[in-house]
Point group: D2
Chain length 329, copies 4
Amino acid sequence: MKTCAIVGASGYTGRELLALLARHPRLRATVVMTARPGAAPEPPQFPGEPTIDALDLARLRDVDGVFLCTPHGAASAIAQAALAADKRVVDLSADFRLRDPANYQRTYGSAHPAPELLGRAVYGLVEHQRERVQQAQLVANPGCYPTSVLLPLLPLLQGRLLDANAPIVADCKSGTSGAGKAVSERTHFGNVHENFLAYGVGTHRHAPEIWQEAGTQRIVFTPHLLPVFRGILSTLYVTPAAGVAADAIRSALRERYAREPFVRVYEAGTPQPELRCVQHTNQCHIAVAASGPLVVITSAIDNLVKGASGQALQNMNLMLSLPEGDGLP
Amino acid sequence: MKTCAIVGASGYTGRELLALLARHPRLRATVVMTARPGAAPEPPQFPGEPTIDALDLARLRDVDGVFLCTPHGAASAIAQAALAADKRVVDLSADFRLRDPANYQRTYGSAHPAPELLGRAVYGLVEHQRERVQQAQLVANPGCYPTSVLLPLLPLLQGRLLDANAPIVADCKSGTSGAGKAVSERTHFGNVHENFLAYGVGTHRHAPEIWQEAGTQRIVFTPHLLPVFRGILSTLYVTPAAGVAADAIRSALRERYAREPFVRVYEAGTPQPELRCVQHTNQCHIAVAASGPLVVITSAIDNLVKGASGQALQNMNLMLSLPEGDGLP
Amino acid sequence: MKTCAIVGASGYTGRELLALLARHPRLRATVVMTARPGAAPEPPQFPGEPTIDALDLARLRDVDGVFLCTPHGAASAIAQAALAADKRVVDLSADFRLRDPANYQRTYGSAHPAPELLGRAVYGLVEHQRERVQQAQLVANPGCYPTSVLLPLLPLLQGRLLDANAPIVADCKSGTSGAGKAVSERTHFGNVHENFLAYGVGTHRHAPEIWQEAGTQRIVFTPHLLPVFRGILSTLYVTPAAGVAADAIRSALRERYAREPFVRVYEAGTPQPELRCVQHTNQCHIAVAASGPLVVITSAIDNLVKGASGQALQNMNLMLSLPEGDGLP
Amino acid sequence: MKTCAIVGASGYTGRELLALLARHPRLRATVVMTARPGAAPEPPQFPGEPTIDALDLARLRDVDGVFLCTPHGAASAIAQAALAADKRVVDLSADFRLRDPANYQRTYGSAHPAPELLGRAVYGLVEHQRERVQQAQLVANPGCYPTSVLLPLLPLLQGRLLDANAPIVADCKSGTSGAGKAVSERTHFGNVHENFLAYGVGTHRHAPEIWQEAGTQRIVFTPHLLPVFRGILSTLYVTPAAGVAADAIRSALRERYAREPFVRVYEAGTPQPELRCVQHTNQCHIAVAASGPLVVITSAIDNLVKGASGQALQNMNLMLSLPEGDGLP
């Protein structure tokens, strides 16, 4: 039995990790702490829930792996401490996703707090970085939107199946848990229920992350806020390269992911993926359809599982040499 | 005081019309009937609601205008009777939207029931057909998705502000009331709540209607089902013509609609339109933003009002020489 | 045309009043202000909405009536100013609902800010206080829960139709708009959606208000939070007096409210009232059914209309000698 | 590894059982069939889901236990076949819950299809029937509402802590999954979302089941339909026996359930149980509070787990001598 710490356990991703680890046969959360220095321990919110201890970096020495479920900016200092103690670290914040500190500063509005660590971080989109993750000491867990966009897109870009000059539209819709647990106007029930809107048009922080991993800025990313709690559905519009049909794109994706347990590419003629197909699972479901001059690709994930805590656990399993699917529904 | 009939009053659009007419100062619903020949009258669903009479075409003689809130296919016969009695008719079904009967047959899967009337029908997108509507005896009320797509798009196409060869993406999201009141797997609470999906990808019946009115098939239309009751938000991705910036597109739309009471184009820097801005109103709210190589246009309507019964009333007001905005919130 | 001021116009009840007044034929909101002294004016939240001016008590001199849509505690000072200027005042807060200042202090945790006004305030449950409201200068608009409980209960208590010793259960369920527009843990989407709970069991502030008006503390009131925005459904369990059947209770209510435009008591055999029957209306719908030894009475209102702004307008109409139903859907 | 059959696997309770069994360490669903004689096999609804075979009673011979997830009326014939083959049977329908066939006929409107089996059936409210369940060959799995009402109530009735003459109010609110997967007006999204209502007042079929197990008809049961998918919250109003306080009632429940892994009685001062505390778990959470002359007890379960499939699995585990909590979250 290996052990891990969850730092920042009171937020949505921390709680989701706790729930996943409760069923993990080989990894146990033995240290469960807040992320805010000086913050008091938090008693259980409801009877039966765990207490969240005060932050104590010394306790990271007692575990094999460390999950950082902190806001961006706060993760770096804790990562430094954990790495100094030679622990494996999966950071669920955005701190280590952008390789270029200038890009980080442009995107997040402040200087990177630990640029010397950027070179050591592996971008943990497991299906595309498995070997590097196995060797990594620090993994940047991908953002939720980027996960839903990159899984269908990367094989097509790598296989040169798309028109190299045409823009790619990524029209993405997320449940509110992506906005986190903190109260805000944006997540007030009266502003979400029976409502829908686009936000961050042309300016969202996940665009540079998508561009970095895709190797192109031709991707036009628009997020929207759904009146649901869990799930992202991304609708991608791609222009095939000359002579490439929707069927070839589907086949390429099916072949690429045929042996991946957490990615499922639908056959032609199957219904569209729905959020309910993937909620509470670590799956990404993908469908491909022709529509006039374009090909429409839809991709569904649970933003809290494959888009956050599930993928983080997948990464940690690899880093600790455990079976990759352990603890993942 | 003028009078009108509502045929097919038990569905969502019929009930919405009844609610709007209850506050109309110059038009009263004096005939309220089912659309199904031979169907029994329907008692009020709840105390205080109106009784819906059995269908009796002879009663259409007693009114000035007739609203047809029937399924497609069923409207034509009733329209013929009403036109024979020299009444003004607004058809909320799809029967008279496509001008070409072959297009109707391809799209709706059966021969058009009254092709001789097609030439008399005016497509009632008021802001673009006001004068023809005023003269019309038969108006085809636009579909909900087409209304939300065409209002922002037509001025750009007419003004040659878009790249004439690039595809246009219309990623549209609708509440469930667009699927009507009949029970179905698709609208079961358990299949909608906390869920989201695309449907009809590349095959939806509103695409030929959009193509006809836009004059181009370059528009790639994808509908999605939102877990809300009312509202459509359409996110359009357009490629500007050379030298045209997002600001010019916004300015063109603001100028085009400056004197239209039911279309509002947001200034730069304003928040994105939300469904709640337009629910229970006859408004279409539109915003324009640059995003990389494309311009993103969002457009919000209430599918039951501007996308159906409100626009139908706007048309009828014009046809009966009443103030266009009477009865419209 | 008469004029009124709305103080505290940015909250849910203020906005609802603005929407109602937009259709009022004889009363116009000419002064629209925040309630917080020193607060800056608020620009429109969305294009087309009104600006909310800074608080300026001098402007109350220019109107006929004043609506106070402020938190409890804040209304008293503004009410004093308005009454000093001889204006009619409807206070939607709780400041003037409890006649006994000691009761106010027990319930709201601080001394009453203007006890000298308590004697002038009329409790504005219109159907039971119409004549006093017509004469009143200051009306305390009833709470949302008390409105839904007292309308069905008062005629039964007054008619001695209930066992005078048995407890009365008021199990009440409200949408989240009752909790107001301010952000809070309680109204975070993630804490409301797909959730339900009781709160304030045995301790809610509306219980003393119900007890005062009903003249008895035998009423056991339990509020619950529904994952809806608008509406209250109250389920009351009463023990009939000896020899009184459910039918007699229903008949008594039907007779009592037969000429009231905003209260509808269902006949036997009718479906149960639903929130959707009363949302966006000023109606209270009531049904009565036998269930073993008790009689179950359900009562539905829109908490923002009959439970707040609609009833406030009904009161103001009476105070200004306007038709009682003006502006009320 | 033991094996079981699920008959009627396409409904909500069948699918929930499949999901639970997927994580069960010692019991596997090897036979998964529809319940309707002659119905065709059902292909997976979405990629990755199981195929549901046609009904074939002979296959019941190959398993250790049989779950019947059928509508009431249909279960009896299959139960007979399974019992004839000497299998352990848990029936999730209502067929074996009422011991008296006359009561069944009054409640369900037709003669009981297999009255000779009624004497063999054990009512599977595990916490109150554990030893009888262990010996049983046929278990009637309790209804969802009765489970939520009886768990808090039975210890109080047995301990004579309640006034023996006073009525007991059970005001219960359920998510829509309790109404099943079949399409209906009642579960149409447009009739549930942003809505709430009571139904079956004084007439619901679960009342006789509650009365039978509680041994009294003084319980007034009113169900309501919540706009959520999963969960029941029941609010009970009881009159304590002379000299008994709320604290004594709470203590009695806490003591009674102290060693039960699936029932949790909150301490005084704890927040109220919410649906989200128990969704996707087999837990029943209970709180007790004084409110004037009555004591208010709230009880929350997931209607699909503790109120159906989870409790069914708990029963089957006992019948097959497996650890009671196996496969239960």
